[in-house]
């Protein structure tokens, strides 16, 4: 059974601090996605990681992929309140079906 696990499930962090969200998956995946979801909204695509060692950055967010370890990370640098949302990773697992993790609810406070 394919599994995508994220941790932590909840993250409360102070503005200006750094933190990392981890995404582990149980089988080979040829691509890994990160999405952001605001309450009551749809999913916003953040990153698509297509190869081992891929690293992508956008603003205060940086995502990386280690296919050998079956691990992707989403690193938050100097968090700001606007980053408060739920973040999901999802894997393709050699199919076109995306399997999602359980999500990490991030709250950034002053």
């Amino acid at each position: 059974e394919l599994k995508v696990e994220q941790n932590p499930l909840f993250l409360s962090m102070q503005e200006g601090k750094n933190y990392t969200i981890y995404c582990n998956y149980s089988t080979t995946s040829d691509r890994l996605y990160w999405y952001r979801q605001d309450p009551g909204k749809s999913l916003e695509s953040l990153f698509v990681l297509l190869s081992n060692g891929a690293v992508k950055q956008e603003g205060r967010l940086m995502a990386s992929l280690d296919t050998k370890a079956r691990l992707s990370t989403l690193h938050i640098t100097a968090a700001v309140h606007d980053l408060s949302a739920t973040y999901f990773c999802a894997g393709g697992f050699n199919t076109d079906k995306l399997i999602f993790g359980t999500g990490t609810r991030l709250q950034v406070f002053p």
């Binding site: 995508v4 691509r31 996605y33 909204k41 749809s42 999913l43 695509s45 698509v48 297509l50 999901f88 999802a90 076109d96 079906k97 995306l98 399997i99 999602f100 993790g101 359980t102 999500g103 609810r105």
Partner: protein
Amino acid sequence: NAGVTQTPKFRILKIGQSMTLQCAQDMNHNYMYWYRQDPGMGLKLIYYSVGAGITDKGEVPNGYNVSRSTTEDFPLRLELAAPSQTSVYFCASSQRFGYTFGSGTRLTVV
């Protein structure tokens, strides 16, 4: 560009009623998907389609049916609605590595 359009946005059903959630995309994508998202959880794949006339089950197909008579449309049918089907339903389409999600249908079964 409309992208992926879902209707209705909200619906309340009584137990045992049936309904069809509509999904249409105008990007000529071959692949389409239905996901459900329960409160505080990640997305679970219900059904998907790789092209007109071809559908397959996802992680949680019980209680649902789909059809794909055209490239553009991928309706999801709920027969005999149950409280366990209370959820937010997202339709998505994809081509190669890009996924586009609809805005969701919030369904409550009472």
